[in-house]
């Protein structure tokens, strides 16, 4: 029983932290996550002068997958940092 409980807890946790909008994810007007394709399609529609269908890029934050609500991020584009430098920190020397 104890083992099952742990597995269930693990499953819940893995669902909760399943995804992050580290780069960006697509949401509808209510902030619910939808497939990225909807935002990409909308970008093309807008670029061609058409009206959007209510889908937006959401930057940063976390969500539990398509259909869940994204939170902790922003509708304005984010800037990510720290994507360079990890190997320098690991190896310790840089120039040669």
């Amino acid at each position: 029983m104890k083992k099952s409980a742990l597995i269930t807890f693990g499953l819940i946790m893995s669902t909760l932290i399943l995804c992050s909008c580290e780069d960006r994810c697509c949401v509808d007007a209510q902030g619910n996550v939808v497939e990225d394709e909807k935002c990409k399609k909308e970008e093309k529609t807008r670029a061609a002068g058409g009206h959007g269908g209510g889908f937006y890029w959401y930057y940063g934050g976390t969500h539990g997958g398509v259909g869940s609500r994204a939170s902790g991020g922003s509708f304005t584009p984010g800037v990510l940092r720290g994507g360079f430098g990890s190997l320098g920190a690991f190896h310790g020397a840089k120039g040669g």
Binding site: R24, V79, R81, G85, L87, A89, A93, K94, G96
Partner: protein, 379 residues
Amino acid sequence: MERKGTYPRDGWEQKIAEAGLIFDKADGHPYWHEEAYYEFSAREVDELEEATNTLSDLCLEAADQVIERDRLAELAISAPVATVIQESWRQERSFTLYGRFDLAYDGNSPPKLLEYNADTPTMLLEAAVVQWFWLEEKFRGADQFNSIHERLIEQWKKLKWYLRHSPLYFTYAEGSLEDLATVTYLMDTAAKAGLVIADLVVSDIGWHSDRRQFVDLANKPIRSLFKLYPWEWLVAEEFGPHLLDVYKEMQWLEPLWKLVLSTKGILPILWELNPGHPNLLAASVTAPPTGDWVKKPRFSREGANVAVHRAGGQNLETPGTYGQEGFIYQQLAPFSNFDGYYPVLGSWIIGGEAAGIGIRESTALITDYRSRFVPHLFT
């Protein structure tokens, strides 16, 4: 070529610090050593200059061979990176500042190439400035194979016409005093050439996901970037795919094609293309040469993960965190011992021409971060 003893200057520690050498100790070992110096004849300097220019030509021919004949996989370079290297080679072949050939030399045999630091060479400030001040104070009237400072400024002036955007950002990894001093010096030479400059720690470079641009700490776009941070790390890190996407929208120094020459994997190709060349050592990917040999990681720094094998025993190996991309074998250079020390000559190529040397010496056959810099002169 001789190694001679001498008295250090009064207050030499303060003098080298004032010249910018703020990284004089490695694990408690003094890095700058002026109780000795190396003296060359004018003929020997001519030989070093000629060898450096020859090696530069051979390397460019080897790069052309590797890039244009789709041999980049042999250097453990992935297909996405290889595609961008090919564009870089075709479009910005002359967009380069500098490089440093490490040579074994004793004044009797021709200089032999140990490796080419084509991407992120350091040991620059001490070669360009600190040893020159030493010469002027100690041996006024003698000469030194060293026009590094002037050549850097000259080359920046040429590159200024290629750079489409200002400022030129200089980036480096936090935590290394040597890298900080090197970048600060390079920024100074660029500013003297009239470039508008800015500095940025490599981990502070931002990726603007909507604009699909690299940005500085004020979120301003970075369009021109000098990096003292190796290409093989940049393309392998989290922002590597973004870098490859936007590479051609920016200008990078050194350009990406320099990755081909900075890997030790180029050494077997140089030997294959120029077998028996007097300035090269036999090298192979598959099997050690006959006699004494050295095993080196394709990518490594400061002599890490290098193994020396001698037929009569006396094997040697250094620790480190490198070697994942594989190793190459190289014939052991015919090192001569000068008063118990093995010198390695770092010969600078700036704007495609030999510009001077700096010497590091070690009591062991492998030059590592504890090796010390010794000045030189010629008569």
